[in-house]
Amino acid sequence: MILLSLRLINKTFIVERGEVHAVCDVSLDIEEGEFFTLLGPSGCGKSTTLRCIAGLETPTSGEISLGGGLVYSSARGSVVPVYQRDIGMVFQSYAIWPHMNVFENVAYPLKYGSSNRMKKEEIRQRVSDSLSLVHLEGMENRSATLLSGGQQQRVALARALVRNPKLLLLDEPLSNLDAKLREEMRTELCELVHRLGITAVYVTHDQLEALVMSDRIAVMHEGRLVQIANSHDIYNRPVNAFVAGFIGATNFLDGRFKRDSNKGTCGVTETPIGTLFCSAGAEFNDGQVVKIALRPETIQVEDSKDKVPSSPGKTMNVFEGDIEILDFHGDSLVIRVRVGEELIQVKTDPDQQLHVGQHVYLVVSQDHCQAVPF
């Protein structure tokens, strides 16, 4: 069942010098129980889209429906105000109220929310349930100003969940945490959301967070949706060079495409470093100018031609060059190899014995050479 749907949402901000079109014709449907991520660089309109869903911003045009009911429609001129929408939200700054303790912060939606008045005992019970979900049992009386960043994050989450909302909105909730805590919270948040079966819309600019946590990802660029797909397809089948470049490191090679008539999704491309076997969607035409996206970790490095593996059934591309730069990352070795005019980045096994200036052979299968529109 579709819980949330956006139809042709537009949002224009009026600034001193003219207008900024922050969100352009965004349409999407989010299933109940889905973990949906809006991903993109800063200023791409992802936060504005989220704020429109929450009701903190009113779109310039379009339609939003939540749980079957229309909450915004420009055609009918109707807006359900933010406090009447059944949602929980975690903000980037956590927005923990400094003049209240943990209990008062979490109990606030129950006490002052527009829903029916609750008995004190019930409020106490639900706050304590909510706090135990985020592993803050017994912290009720702690002052909000004495909490660490991670704890504030947890309180904000408990507060968002305490009313059992239909929809949970998360606006870059992990970006203010240090790297280690971020990883912990990422796992925990993901597990919690799936366990509760709650529908979540998550906004982030961190591609790793998006790939790890999401059921589906919507990549946004300059106010528009570029691609909606699951993590695997976003990573391996990017629809254009922007998505390929934004999600993970990528080598790009310019080329002219020619379809292999025997195999539907295969073709060859003339590139500056020779002819490449690549995979491509049905939309590409013979002679079309394309970019080939090559992930650094899909490329294999061999020090002599004899070692190049011949795997039956797979078409391999092989090219040779000299190592120009070599960076040891601990868990990997990142090298840049000069092949003709191009510098190809490769991520490889750190135990491999390589040195700058070495002549190497790069091997990459056809599946990993993805053609994207120029």
Binding site: V82, Y83, S93, W97, P98, Y108, Y112, G113, S114
Partner: protein
């Protein structure tokens, strides 16, 4: 001060077109001398069918008019420091605008609110100009009383005694304003 808070909200947060207008309007008052305000009030309220001329209310209105600019500056400056997500979190929690104001904004602004109030109170307390113009027998203020004792009755002793009391009250309150925030909060909670 409540009016000042509303005006601060209008100009800082509401996002209404023209929300800045009342804020600028209060600033105009700074440039107008007290006597002019008093005269203006006399003209306005004697011609309006509002029976406040000659009561304490006209003096209160005069003081509000005059000090709104100051109290509004204090409230706007403090309001600007509140992260807007604090209010949005309350909206999301299902609280109405009024609840957000009462439960979130006002408590956070409370120290500034109290200081602003004390500041205005001290200034209003020792005011002479406005009161002198507006007072009749029934709505005498301390400032006006002192003036009368001094100028009309020549009762310097009584006048000086009141002045000493007034000064000690003002001094006490001024020191209270100057105290660090934490102890001020503690003093209010008691």
């Amino acid at each position: 001060m409540i009016l000042a808070l509303l005006i601060a909200w209008l100009s800082v947060r509401s996002g209404f077109r023209g929300g800045w207008f009342p804020d600028r309007l209060t600033m105009l008052m700074v440039s107008v001398p007290g006597i002019v305000i008093a005269l203006a009030l006399i003209f306005v309220y004697t011609s309006l069918p509002l029976p406040i001329y000659g009561t304490i209310w006209i003096i209160i209105i005069a003081q509000i008019t005059r000090f709104l600019a100051y109290s509004n500056r204090v409230m706007s400056a403090s309001y600007l420091q509140i992260h807007c997500e604090l209010e949005e979190a309350s909206d999301i929690s299902g609280a109405s605008w009024w609840t957000t104001m009462r439960r979130i904004v006002l408590p956070i602004l409370w120290p500034a609110f109290i200081r602003g109030w004390l500041w205005v109170f001290i200034h209003a307390l020792r005011d002479v100009t406005l009161s002198l113009m507006l007072f009749v027998v029934y709505n005498q203020t301390i400032g006006a009383l002192m003036w009368q004792l001094w100028m009309d009755f020549g009762d310097y002793g009584f006048g000086a005694a009141i002045a000493v009391i007034l000064m000690s009250v003002s001094l006490g309150l001024s020191l209270l304003i100057a105290r660090p925030t934490m102890s001020l909060k503690a003093a209010e909670v008691k």
